[in-house]
Amino acid sequence: MPKTVTNNLSWVIGGAQGSGVDSAANIFSRACAAAGLHIFGKREYYSNIKGEHSYFTVRVNDRPIHSHVDGINLLCSFDAETVFRHFRDVTPGGGIVYDPELIETAIDEVPTLDDQASDRIKKTLENAGLGFQLKDALDFATKRGATAFPVPFFKLLQEFAHKVNEPGLSKLTRMVNVMALSASMSILGFDPAILDRAIQFIFRAKKKVADLNVGAAAHVYAYANSKFANGQFSYSLKAKPTESNMIIVQGNQSSAMGKMIAGCRFQTYYPITPASDDSEFLESNEILDLNDSGRKGSTVVVQTEDEIAAIAMAIGSALTGARSATATSGPGFSLMAEALGWAGINEVPLVVSLYQRAGPSTGLPTRHEQGDLHFAINAGHGEFPRIVLASGDIEESFYDTIKVFNFADRYQMPVIHILDKAIANSVTTSQNFNPTKVAIDRGSIVTKVSDADKGAAGNYLRFKLSDNPISPRVVLGTKDAIFWNTGDEHTEEGHISEDPELRVQMMDKRMNKLDLALKEIPDEDKAIAYGSGDIVLLGWGSTKGVILDVIERLQIEGINVKFVQVRLMNPFPSVLVTSMLAGAKKVIGIEMNYSAQLGSLLRQNTGLDYDYRIVKYNGRPMSLDEVYNAVKRIIDDKNVPRRQVLKHGA
């Protein structure tokens, strides 16, 4: 038995979709955060309403963490499938909370366990000389040094119903999630008062539900305490004073809050996972507090008939001067390609929040991938300027959201803000967001047109050709400043033109804005280098968290590696990235896609290339262990393949 590990835990809760896995995980996460601990959690689920297996992984630590690990120290279950799917990941010294009534359940009796998964599980059990029932899975884990914790949920529920004198409650299996959670908290020696507070908070909208859950949790906590509090479990969680100004935040809230601060007042969307949450959060909070007075602001959120309408409507709104956005994922973004070009040729400031998920086509609709980098940069026919910025984590996504609106206004072009499923469906403790750190830049928007901006006929020239590729912009409704827009090539006024010379001038004007953007955008928004060393890990987007944790783990072993996070994907910051890679002996690209898309972008823009690729495309985010192992192999093993494919994840 290892000695007790305090405040360093990988906890997983699973269950059928719709059975309260999320609520239980939210309570767990919030309780840990309220106990002064840092957490990083991620949610995995099927494209399904009810019944399929979903699970939530939460890593807890004394210090900030940014990724999950392969091993599970405490698996919290209340159905058989969760045990079957995850027992192989339970670490020696770890534990499994399970329902003893289910021990005879066989793998084949779990209809939602697909053939591929069940074959793999059976193989593991068979190789260990075990049968195919739940008790065999538990045997497997306990033989490796894990502890099985039987919690008779139904019996405990009946007792609790009797205790509070509400016999109907015994049917309330909905509370089993919180009971399982509470059992695990008891096993971990977690302060029950903090747990109570977290339950109250999560169910704050329903007092009676909150009270019942608190009662049931207390009942199970006491039971588990009496049965399992033998001091033998290897992991514990101990509360400490909370650090000041910390929040616990989900990745589907951060960019939406950024939009509020940025002044985005119009957002459109068509329902799609994992992007809808962004719009729904805005709509749920459509009335906005303002700093100065009792006045209120508001965000108009429109659910459209499809994604084509979504982007078209957002562009229409942007023309009136409202900061406007649409949020979508790959399939929806595919539909937006034509209108994106319209915004490009008409120099309309527009923000598209692109929450990547695994493609192509419907792909793995609820799973993660970074497969849309090239598409974001190239979507749409013809050539037009756009800015593409990729956020690395939840906190970045908040601040980046204000930046993308500033870029859109300043350079009068569409800006694609790349996020992804891993960010959207993760939760983390973070320093509180600080809106006073940001500023709003609306670029050269004018309310009155000067004579200099008018043509010979006295008309305002929306697309005035001058040394500055950015023309003063007015919004629809402005007096004495009418203009025209067209998806055709156009004159300075905005009328259709097919003149060959004007065409060249207009193309140059538009494309030159990218050079200007590249000149003006600060380095920290282009790429960031962490650590130092002649081995460089190169990545973009949400692999940031896991790579940061890897370089920290390597550092503890005395190995210094550098991490370069590219943020501005278009226009590509070639000079900066080249300088960051100068002197590198090995450049290791780490990406959640098949072809290492940043690698080809790097080659295309700088002539440099990855020496090694670590890629993953099974739909599950990279874990700390697998990235660490892959990098370590490259460092240690001369014969390591140039391309390693990571495969962990249930």
């Binding site: 919030r30 955060a33 309220a34 909370t242 910390m246 929040i247 616990i248 935040v249 809050m257 002044g263 007042r265 119009f266 909070n285 459509e286 906005l288 507090d289 303002l290 700093n291 100065d292 006045r295 209120k296 508001s298 108009v300 459209t304 008939e305 084509i308 309408a309 979504a310 078209a312 409507m313 562009i315 229409g316 709104s317 942007a318 023309l319 009136t320 409202a322 900061r323 406007s324 209108a339 319209w342 204000i402 403790t429 509180n432 809106p435 500023a439 709003i440 629809l476 409704g477 402005t478 007096k479 400043a481 009418i482 203009f483 025209w484 827009n485 067209t486 998806g487 055709d488 259709i496």
Partner: protein
């Protein structure tokens, strides 16, 4: 100073075919704007793609020539962000009822307060005469390799069941009548649809100006030609829903009237229902200051560029000490 008709005209060269029905519609729009004395800067004409898509370039107001089939979403976005604008959307029959049919239905459900005019000539002119969604089944215009194999859509009926709250049909060569319809459409509270029948002199050799005039339609008793168009208002037809209880009856008569075709084709106002809340009113029911402070008119930063939105309440909820 009063705005004149010429104030609504640009000097952009118009390259429509001579005899094109689009001219009548363009004139009717400009006349309607002048009649209503709409300020130049308050009006935005949105258009789709095709010959009709060029319309905004000939009108001296804000003009936004959008994408094929997408004019309604662009236009609705602008109107919702700034309800103070007069938004008029125009486009062809293929644009609105073919590639844009989904948006046509979606727009009906919203009932955004604006007008939509379809230039309906039953062909795709700019791509050289293919069958549009309003060409009748079995018709073979001169540029079609084979007779039209699709049934036609009934634009008025589709608009009705989609939720448009003003429905009218005009004829491009009856410009004064059309102007009046457009004025009514713009002044209507809600989403108004004007279906304008027009010849395409180049590609539609069936529904020609002469055909609409009824030169082939001889009254046997008098020997005179009978124009195919007749005006609903001259028959005592009343399309206005005066009371919500009349709804089914009024809707039924729209279906019946809009199905008339051939020797007798009704034009005029088919339907008007101002009992349905506009999308703006629906938003205002949730966001009380929406009309005074819509997205386009909200301040978002102070003079120094600092954001003025305060999300302390939301962040407070996320505090680990909560």
């Amino acid at each position: 100073m009063a705005l004149k008709l010429s104030d609504y005209k640009t000097d952009v060269h118009n390259d429509w075919c001579s005899g094109c029905g689009d001219f009548g519609i363009l004139n009717a729009i400009q006349m309607a704007l002048a009649d209503m004395q709409r300020p130049i800067n308050k009006v935005t004409i949105f258009s789709g793609i095709g010959c009709s898509g060029k319309t905004p370039h000939f009108i001296r107001t804000y003009g936004i020539h959008t994408l094929h089939g997408r004019v309604l979403p662009f236009a609705q976005g602008a109107k919702l962000a700034n309800p103070d604008l007069d938004v008029i959307a125009v486009g062809g029959d293929g644009d609105g009822l073919g590639i844009g049919a989904g948006h046509f239905v979606g727009a009906g459900r919203r009932n955004v307060d604006m007008a939509y005019i379809i230039f309906n000539n039953a062909v795709y002119g700019l791509t050289k005469g293919q069958a549009s969604p309003t060409l009748k089944l079995g018709m073979k215009t001169k540029s079609l390799p084979q007779p039209n194999v699709n049934n036609s859509v009934n634009p008025i009926a589709l608009a009705l069941v989609s939720g448009f709250t003003f429905l009218a049909r005009g004829y491009s060569y009856d410009v004064r009548h059309l102007k009046d319809l457009i004025k009514k459409a713009v002044e209507h509270k809600g989403l108004a649809f004007v279906d304008v029948l027009q010849p395409c002199p180049t590609y539609n050799d069936i529904n020609t100006k002469e055909w609409f005039q009824g030169l082939d339609n001889i009254d046997a008793s008098t020997g005179k030609t009978m124009p195919r168009m007749y005006k609903l208002e001259e028959t005592g037809y009343d399309g206005i829903v005066h009371d919500p209880s009349e709804l089914n009856e009024k809707m039924a008569q729209v279906i019946a009237k809009s199905n008339e075709w051939g020797d007798k084709i009704p034009i005029g106002v088919f339907y008007q229902n101002e009992h349905i809340p506009t999308y703006q009113e629906r938003i205002a029911a949730r966001i009380p200051n929406y009309m005074e402070s819509p997205p386009a008119l909200q301040e978002i930063a102070d003079a120094s560029g600092k954001p003025i939105t305060n999300i302390d309440r939301l962040l407070g909820d996320l505090s680990v000490d909560k």
